[in-house]
């Protein structure tokens, strides 16, 4: 958002520039448009209670999307986050039945997420794999399988109070999970905009070989984003398990696709190097509002994935158009220089 206000300040009358700015602000405008349309179509939409619902329903996608954003910034992809969420929730439930302590369960879930992330990152980097698609596809399968095996395929009832509060508690109409999302978002904003490590994440995404030659520790940066994405999956597991007071091997099914969709429709580039936490949050809210709105309007649930699919294509196409506009912008500038 900071970059966007800067762009606004420097906005000239140049039509190319205007078009670029429109594309950059596009997701925010679409989100606002969605809110306006929904509140006109359904009087229930703009009630505090429903907005609280939207936030609670978007929380899991938002946390996963923030982790996914870091991975996508480095030109990667993490397909394993949904399965990691399930494994972390089952681990949490099993730990809870053995040692019913809130902090221990929370730590176990976070550690499980980070462990899967470490396998992804180290497998990709140290195995010199051509693309993270493969290793995270492998952990997508293996983590889900491990969750099924550990739980015997059955949901495990019971979560400590702190986990239940994170998933289902609220302060008035504001769900606690919204505060959790805000805390995660703030931490990652600090990382991506203020810290050296965050700058390196963007550098690796913008030009991996250039980053290596600039003496940036590329391998460690890449591993770290997968560990952080795994950690995000562990946090998302706390929210999901808390809401349903259980750990289940079926949690987070297809959540990896939601998280990728949120990052992309929120306006971060799928090609890496561009985008921030704001994009992940806007994308997660867009998906949340589309789902919530279609429920309120009694639209057939089977139509929802189709709408999300159309939005994804539009978002990626706008990224392509952005790239083309930028190169025209560059040519126009060179001609003027």
């Amino acid at each position: 958002m900071i970059a966007e206000s800067g762009a606004l300040r420097r906005l000239g009358s140049d039509p190319l520039r205007l078009a670029l700015l429109a594309i950059r602000l596009g997701p925010v405008l679409i989100l606002l448009l969605l809110v306006v349309i929904m509140s006109m179509l359904s009087p229930a939409f703009l009630t505090m209670l429903n907005l609280g619902n939207v936030l609670a329903q978007s929380a899991v996608i938002a946390v996963l999307a923030i982790g996914q954003l870091l991975v996508i910034l480095t030109r990667g992809i993490d397909l394993s986050v949904g399965s990691t969420l399930a494994l972390a929730s089952v681990t949490g439930a099993l730990v809870y039945s053995a040692a019913p302590s809130g902090p221990v369960v929370v730590l176990a879930m976070l550690a499980t997420g980070m462990a899967v992330g470490a396998i992804n990152g180290m497998g990709y980097v140290l195995g010199r794999l051509p693309h993270p698609f493969i290793i995270t596809l492998a952990t997508l399968s293996a983590a889900r399988g491990l969750a099924l095996w550990l739980s015997g395929g059955q949901p495990q009832q019971g979560m400590p109070e702190i986990v239940q509060a994170m998933g289902g508690g609220s302060a008035g109409w504001l769900p606690y999970s919204a505060f959790l999302v805000a805390a995660v978002a703030l931490a990652v904003v600090l990382l991506t905009t203020r810290m050296v490590w965050g700058r390196w994440i963007y550098a690796v995404g913008g030009n991996p070989e250039g980053a290596r030659r600039a003496a940036i520790p590329v391998d460690r940066v890449v591993i770290s984003v997968y560990v952080l994405s795994g950690l995000a999956a562990g946090i998302a597991a706390i929210v999901t398990s808390g809401r349903l007071n259980a750990g289940s091997p079926t949690f987070g099914d297809l959540a990896e696709l939601d998280s990728i969709a949120a990052v992309v429709i929120g306006g971060a580039s799928f090609l890496g190097g561009r985008g921030g936490v704001g994009n992940a949050l806007v994308g997660a809210l867009m998906i949340g509002i589309i789902r919530n709105g279609m429920n309120l309007l009694d639209v057939d649930a089977f139509l929802q994935p189709i709408v999300i699919g159309v939005v994804i294509v539009m978002a990626v196409e706008s990224d392509v158009v952005r790239g083309r506009l930028e190169s025209r912008f560059r040519i126009a500038r060179a001609a003027r220089a």
Partner: protein, 249 residues
Amino acid sequence: MTPVLAVRGATKRFGAVLALDGVDLEVFPGEVLALLGDNGAGKSTLIECISGVHRLDAGSIEMGGIAVTTGSPAAARALGIETVYQDLALFDNLDPAANFYAGREIAGPRWLPRGLRLLRRRDMSRATGELLTRLQVGIADPHATVGLMSGGQRQAIAVARAAAFASKVVILDEPTAALGLRESRRVLDLILRLREEGHAVIVISHAMDHVIEIADRAAVLRRGRKVGEMSPTPDNRQALVSLIVGGDS
């Protein structure tokens, strides 16, 4: 006078290919040395060995008469060698200041591990602005990402970055390739200013006119060997070209 950088007997093999075969090279402060040769002659391999991307199989690198090892890009940087690679120079998604300081960000506090330090963005912008002004590189919008800038501006930023941090040697790989006339002119002027400031500059170029204009000396490589050295003047042009393509062909 001691050369600021000397390469002795540089040899590098990639599998069955002998990319460098006993190359000697010397550069002196305040000198522009052109490194010439046809495609595959070993120019890029030689500079990549100097700048720490590759390791020499045999031979040595000396700086100011003392043997050094440039085992990594970071080690070469620490020795005062900065390199501008063709096409690899910049981060299109970052602004000029972030490009300048990529991998050596100004940040604090010092007791934190480097990656966790907080960026001093204002300090970096100010220093970048001052340097670009000193080197007379005009940038319309210092906060735009360099992906939005023209080829000449981008190359100027890359060269200025190398100049800013190189205490001894600046290496430029095809600095004027893919640039228009006016943009090439700016980059050439920038290289001449680097020489005035006492840097040793090594330039790889295929543009003979540019070499003749800015270089004090030219070394020619062919098939991994150094086949000659001469001062590039308009009269020597033909001789240089036949050295590059080889007398026998």
